[in-house]
Symmetry: C2
Subunit: 409 residues, 2 copies
């Protein structure tokens, strides 16, 4: 049961002009399961992508990087669930490439105009013959209204589909941003991976895409964690079909650029948060904001130390205002010259620690009240500088162990 995550509805997901989606059953791992999705992109679509930094990256990630580097216009993507095509060596690369080639042939494209994505079990070869055999049905199914069905088709251990949509008026034109994502642990090397796909019809100068994609990821998908593990297949793709009739945006710092970026960020953050809310065994959604760092990096070190501490996460699960665990995580986060006497700690509006020690006015019942909520904000002030950053995570419950211990059986 995800934490405060409403089910998306098909009519709340606006089609993106220039993009259609088709879904089919390819039988990659299970029968009677929609496990194949294609997205068809109009000519002129610009894309940006961010991939896992795991050195053990999967074959489709390597193929995506190559195809994006080739500079040709990307016109289609193909996503399968059931098999991640990771840890599969040269043969895995060959199969990912063959899948792209098969789709390209059917569409009259070059293979490097297709990006492949896979998620599922790892260290088993992709049954690419079945993926390829499923392509005609997926193509026949393609239409602009299929976002919710695509969100369902890319799920693995997710308990519900994740999708969001926004519209914003730019230059008198209504511009749409719609996205879907999957992922429920920040890695599932078996049912691997977070995948995020966000599309807009905004007319963005193509050279803006790479930096924009990175900037969005760094405030959304790159700031969420369930268990600290990084998948072999994590991918976030931003697609701009550029069909909206407003003047081209060539600078994200203009009013139009800012309005669009805000809409894109809302969708990306909603999807990223949705993965945490649906985190394996999650019962609480936790924001961890670290202020007063000398650098962004040290804020993130502290935030992730808190977010990844099994002791902190089990305390959240137990609604136990166990401040020592949070302060200890701050202490071991890796800031060598940290002065503990400058640390301030807040749980929502409750000031629990000051100058590195218990706040004189703090009462455990106030901490316990916040910890019992399903949405909790932790804020740490380091007193070292003016940088801030925020990460989002969930608690650590019995169900996490159950899901991850039992999940292949």
């Amino acid at each position: 049961m995800p934490v405060n995550l409403p089910l998306p509805t098909a009519d709340a997901l606006f089609p993106v002009p220039g993009l259609s989606l088709g879904i089919a059953e390819a039988g990659v791992r299970k029968q009677n399961r929609k496990d194949l999705t294609v997205m068809l992109l109009a000519p002129g679509t610009a894309v940006g992508a961010v991939f896992t930094r795991n050195r053990f990256c999967a074959a489709p990630v390597q193929v995506c990087r190559n195809h994006l580097a080739s500079g040709h216009g990307i016109r289609a993507i193909v996503v399968n669930t059931g098999n991640a095509n990771a840890g599969t060596g040269e043969e895995g690369l060959r199969r990912a490439q063959a899948t792209c080639a098969a789709l390209a042939t059917r569409l009259g494209l070059e293979p490097h105009q297709v990006l492949p994505f896979s998620t599922g079990v790892i260290m088993e070869q992709l049954p690419y013959d079945r993926v390829i055999a499923g392509l005609p049905a997926a193509l026949a199914d393609a239409c602009a209204e299929n976002w919710l069905r695509a969100a369902e088709a890319i799920m693995t251990t997710d308990t519900q589909p994740k999708a969001a949509s926004r519209q914003v008026v730019i230059g008198g034109q209504t511009v749409t941003v719609t996205g879907i994502a999957k992922g429920a642990g920040m890695i599932r090397p078996n049912m691997a991976t977070m995948l995020g796909f966000v599309a807009t019809d905004a007319n963005l100068a193509p050279d803006l895409l790479p930096a924009l994609t990175k900037a969005l990821a760094d405030r959304s998908f790159n700031r969420v964690t369930v268990d600290g593990d990084t998948s072999t297949n994590d991918s976030f793709l931003l697609m701009a079909t550029r069909q909206a009739q407003h003047p081209q945006i060539t600078d994200m710092t203009t009013a139009e650029g800012q309005a669009l970026e805000a809409a894109l960020l809302e969708v990306a953050q909603y999807l990223a948060h949705a993965m945490v809310r649906d985190g394996e065994g999650a019962t609480k959604f936790i924001s961890i904001q670290v202020d007063g760092g000398k650098t962004r990096d040290e804020c993130l070190k502290v935030a992730y130390a808190i977010a990844h501490s099994p002791l902190v996460k089990t305390a959240f699960f137990a609604s136990d205002p166990n401040l020592g665990r949070i302060l200890a995580a701050v202490g071991y986060a890796g800031i060598d010259d940290l002065d503990q006497s400058l640390i301030e700690l807040f749980l929502d509006d409750v000031h629990v620690a000051t100058r590195g020690g218990r706040h004189p006015a703090y009462q455990e019942q106030d901490g316990a009240r916040v910890m019992a909520q399903t949405e909790i904000r932790v804020r740490v002030e380091l007193g070292r500088g003016s940088w801030s950053d925020t990460v989002w995570t969930c608690d650590f419950s019995h169900d996490y162990v159950t899901i991850n211990a039992d999940y292949r059986s």
Copy 2:
């Protein structure tokens, strides 16, 4: 129920000439509980210490560092459970110092000849009046045979006492090494901490102690992890009473030095492993050896990435030979130029992955057989250089969540 950890018996713990131990009930946190231990060291005893690297270190750690830096001969230590005196600010320092002063007065010493150690709840002031009031009873109890009672008195969430003893003949003289430790999670900011105390009567040149202590810790206490959290109070103290009648050891690379170091390492490793075997909820004891690194540091990065991955640890709990989780952890360990095609992975004698992919001869039943054992060796070959290192950890079970979610109630 610890993993393959026999209960120590009093008669297997050899007294260390020049060292006596006294235990008392001070009522720090609970009544009818031995919670105070003093150790009295003969004049001339040399000590070395390694402390937590957590920047949020506790008051007694700060006082220990100061007293050791003062250069005066350490003659006594005082250990309380029930309260860690961490996150307690200036007042905490004052109370730790006052405790040392009180014991020093009773023994005719200077306060800086006493080292304080505390473990228990954090962010509450140490009831030092009770500790001080308990000192006379502890001193009256002091004798050389009290090692097992001391091992019991320093326990917090440990399910059983941890103690080990070895003897070795040096220069025709029998030399003793005896040690005790406590700790069951690699942090308990509430019932905090790992504490390790190892003593020998070997006649060691005092200036050998600091480097020797660090070398021992780096092959024992600094290589074990239960949950990746680092306590505010972690401390390891090595004491050499120097009363054995062999010629002084002035160089650890001599035959005598090597024989002694081997005995010390056996005791330190036994105690460190005992903490993992008694890890919260542990059902398996896991060695993770990483070979072929360019540096020691990168071997440790990979070993800890595996040891700390909740997904890997839950797979061990489930006896699931989920190799993808281990390989993924290798991939995100932080070696930027890792070449996945050079990675070899073994579970005990089973060669499960080669060149970064599944070994052609690997059969899941062989992996499952190893994973079902209570003692498991993971070995990763990085193919980058000639460094190796090993860490020890346990699996991640339902009981871990239960213990840490429920433990303050």
